[in-house]
Point group: C2
Chain length 301, copies 2
């Protein structure tokens, strides 16, 4: 089976949502992405944490078959911490505090056995680190990137550079409009496609996702949820399971990209039903397939 390399943030999050609050729980784009992808394929993680990173989280990641050889643990360093809330709008986090900690001087170094990875997911992280990672991979079959509003604001040129070098870019609708300065999500999708990726996937939360490509626009509904407990990591687990499914099947045809989008949404819908990665931890065998089937039924006419 193809192996998947994921680089991105590993974090400790403090989050408040209308459903409750948690302190210093396991989070980070690469964490969500890796655990979601591990439902489908072997994962090699690249990231950094401090000495304060709880051993139980390392054990959990290892128990999912995630290779941690590329996860640097910095003696005396502090793990990246993020504090935010979704009290006003479940689709948009308000950041209260960001402590970069060990991310401030992070220089991703890929272990030798990572460099041959066929599938690469550049999860949300400073775009210069996404590029530095990509420079160390020999000849990937498929590279997917994600980003966030912070990098669009402070490192727009580098975000564009990443988009030019990947096969598939994933971002949410607000980010797509911000990056392109388009008012319409459809225009933003078409414009981002012009940068060169084979496909651009725009996530719209409860409204599903749109994939733009030369083959046309694909629209996937979201799995219908009555309640969202914590939206953190929805996009990361969407992208992680999207590329994880592609790596597992080794099929990057347009038809399979569409299926991968629906798998991505199915896993993301699990993620948001509890804080941190709690609902991914207790996910029952067959539940992702069941949700995939529900979404297929919803979309068929």
């Amino acid at each position: 089976m193809n192996e998947l390399l994921i680089v991105g943030s590993v974090a400790l999050d403090s989050i408040e949502t209308p459903a409750g609050r948690v302190e210093a729980v396991l989070g980070g784009a690469a964490t969500y992405g890796a655990v979601a992808a591990s439902l489908f394929c072997p994962v090699h993680l690249v990231g950094v944490v401090g000495e304060d990173f709880p051993a139980q989280h390392l054990e959990f990641l290892g128990s999912r078959g995630i290779d941690l050889a590329g996860l640097q643990i910095i003696a005396g360093g502090d793990t990246f911490r993020w504090k935010g809330d979704y009290n006003e709008d479940l689709n948009q986090a308000v950041t209260h505090e960001t402590h970069l900690g060990v991310f401030e001087h992070f220089d991703p170094q890929l272990p030798a056995h990572y460099r041959e990875a066929d599938f690469v997911f550049l999860a949300n992280i400073n775009p210069s680190l996404q590029l530095a990672t990509l420079d160390q991979v020999s000849s990937p079959k498929l590279v997917v990137c994600d980003t966030m509003n912070l990098w669009i604001n402070i490192a727009r040129a580098q975000v564009f550079e990443v988009f030019r070098r990947v096969d598939i870019a994933v971002l949410n609708d607000g980010e797509a409009r911000m990056l392109t300065e388009c008012e319409s999500t459809v225009s933003a999708g078409h414009e981002l496609l012009q940068l060169g990726p084979r496909a651009v996937i725009i996530k719209k939360g409860e409204h599903g996702a749109l994939m733009f490509s030369e083959e046309g626009i694909f629209s996937a509904p979201s799995y219908p949820l009555e309640e969202v407990v914590d939206p953190t990591g929805a996009g990361d687990s969407f992208a992680g399971s999207f590329i994880g499914f592609l790596a597992a099947t080794g099929d990057v045809s347009y038809a399979n990209l569409k299926r991968a989008v629906v798998y991505g949404g199915s896993v993301a819908s699990v993620t948001v039903q509890d804080f941190s990665l709690d609902s991914l931890k207790t996910l029952e065998e067959g539940e992702v397939e069941r949700r995939f089937g529900v979404v297929r039924e919803m979309a068929t006419f």
Copy 2:
């Protein structure tokens, strides 16, 4: 072919959007609904206008084969006028002025040949008038209703009464959450279904529509537009073409309801590409079918 009865507002609208502004143009829920439905089937219109209503609009409606025997023209009366803008948010009109005019004392009286209509669309209007119309129809095969936030605010019990008496209720996502006091659109859909209709359709603008029924949830994407000129009448033309297609085919199976939702969205996507009913007036033969095909392609995986 089945005939369709439509009751609702006929109006003169003054509208400002980021794309421009127009004064006292043809509008009203029944107008949009009737013209959209007339793409598919014969329509009998029930409504009221004042002496100030331009003859050219009557000629236009007549030219679409819309039966105006039930359109009262009140001597000395003023046509209902609405003034609003969508400058902040294309999904939500801000009302500046409403002149009820002849609507203040409107008492819908159905001509004899209207009472046997098999298909009935209770377009947006005071729910007491929707009920008064329904009381005069003998044995319709299918009744569809729409409503708006105004009636939910000032006549909630009557809106519920309408929902209990129709086969299919159509409303937008904000209205659905307002009416049910649910935070989630999915919960709102399920709750409204408990009132008794066979299906509840929640329109989400650019994000498509969800249809809730005993058969499950159906999700239809919207036809992808790069620009919306004027969203006025999108929902009315959605519902009008939805029921118009059902009346034309005489098929109210679940499979055909799903197709009707996609036809509704296809026609609505035409409506919003110009002010008033201008783009419906110039709609080319085959364009609705083409958009239906695009949406089917977008949804297929």
